[in-house]
Symmetry: C2
């Protein structure tokens, strides 16, 4: 089965203590789509300007990503520029040029409306709603978010959460949303807001799932060096959804393994600037690291 | 086989957002000894003043802890008073009264000098050296430490590390020691300082072992509520050593499981003030949580 992924498609200029790279392919939907493409066909919905490099369209195509839902409009592609601190855990935004993204309305091509697996990658909750309004009974809907929407669009987000099967957020967002320092206490509160499955991402500390079958503690793949963590969270949820879309049986049968595959693809993402780490790998290398994680966590 | 545990024995007055408790039994050796006692016989070496409550001596005895090496000297017991912040991750010291601890010299009774398993719990590195100087070829020596010794006794600590089999420290101490933000990069640097096994404790994020068989990612037991984390790190390493001391076969065969047992005893420690969480449990409850952790991490 294919995964429908809606989110931002951007050019990222990223500065880290390890180096600098201008106008890389980025955005939540780009990272999630490439990650998901290792597991299942992907339909991407987003918007770019007419300055969007052909090389990046070719990159999507190499990953067999369906671009029917990618609007190419006159104007500039969304451009984000940011800088990471030495410890890679905090970043600050240097520049945000919305360009054509400012008036983006994600209109789904007819063929996309019956998709079973839907990933609402990080984007304004109002747009995430707009996508769901066009869908016909999807089987599994996941949304990611960011602190910005908790700050400026909390009501939209709270309404969205009632329409989701799964909600993914990082630990600081979970704290912001629930005022709970304890992740397990936060998970309980987030369930009450709607989603049956809640995943809290903790960066290098892994992630936690809370769902009908209880808690799953998902390890992060150990990296001795992080080049650029941008998009790792998107890669995580993208790979998770790609894996789930092709697995036979119930979500509960596969969601733990889906998260481990997400962890591994996120680890590759961190090893290069932008999408460079994710795009240079093959599925066999992903499987290899999943096997390694099995060994590293066995007791 | 028994475990020899040397460290501080103290009265702790602990304030957290959840409450306040004066003059609880505390100290690194107390927490480690009670935790180890669930698995193997323990010989405690430490010092207390003549104000030390008989109830606490009885508590040690209920855990069948050998007190031959516990000096009771005229004067006051080491008294520490501290306060935890809301998120329980940071504490500040309100008061430190060393009392008889100021001139403590850990002299080992004859029968202790041939111990196979030695835990040098948190205490000045010079005293940890002094203990090792009295030992006859121990099989497995582990030391814990704290930021204070990195600040004021770094050279003693660096010399000590060459005499250890295993070194245990928390993530902020690992950063302080190696200047590495990345835990896996830090582990490599710490191995170069001597120890064959290095364990970095990450509180609610679990712990990481690096040893001859590579990395082990050890989960923390999920707690929805932490009452008082004081001594959890000592309980972790105490239980780990207690488990190892009774396991047959090589250290490598058992150290992962030993850490998981350590994680679980540490979780009980966090559920009560001082030693209240650890002393109210039975071995069966520990086994139960270890089984649960197996389920919570399986994929």
């Amino acid at each position: 089965m294919s995964v429908l992924i809606v989110g931002s498609t951007a050019l990222d200029s990223i500065k880290t203590p390890k180096g600098e790279n201008p106008r890389l392919l980025g955005g939540s939907a780009s990272h999630a789509a490439v990650a998901a493409s290792f597991f299942s066909p992907v339909k991407l919905v987003g918007v770019v300007g007419d300055d969007f490099p052909k090389a990046y369209l070719d990159l999507y195509k190499r990953h067999r990503i369906d671009l029917e839902g990618l609007q190419i409009l006159p104007g500039k592609t969304f451009h984000w520029s940011g800088e990471y601190e030495v410890n890679m855990n905090h970043r600050r935004t240097l520049l945000t040029e919305l360009g054509v993204f400012e008036s983006f309305t994600p209109t789904l091509p007819k063929g996309h409306q019956a998709s079973s697996f839907v990933l609402l990658a990080n984007i304004a909750p109002a747009l995430q709603h707009h996508v769901l309004d066009q869908m016909r009974r999807p089987r599994f809907v996941v949304a990611d978010t960011m602190d910005l929407w908790l700050n400026i669009a909390l009501n939209d987000l709270l309404r969205l959460m009632k329409r989701l099967d799964a909600f993914v957020l990082n630990d600081s967002e979970a704290h912001q949303l629930t005022k709970e320092d304890n992740a397990f206490a936060a998970l309980k509160k987030i369930h009450r807001l709607g989603p049956k499955y809640v995943v809290i991402k903790k960066g290098s500390h892994g992630s936690i799932l809370s769902g009908p079958k209880g808690i799953f503690i998902c390890p992060a793949y150990p990296l001795g060096k992080v080049v650029d963590p941008t998009g790792a969270g998107d890669a995580f949820v993208g790979a998770m959804m790609g894996y789930l879309a092709t697995a036979k049986g119930s979500i509960d049968d596969h969601i733990r393994r889906a998260m481990v595959f997400g962890s591994v693809v996120a680890s590759f993402c961190c090893e290069g600037f932008g999408l460079q780490g994710t795009t240079r790998i093959k599925r066999a290398q992903i499987n290899q690291r999943v096997k390694e994680l099995e060994r590293l966590t066995k007791f």
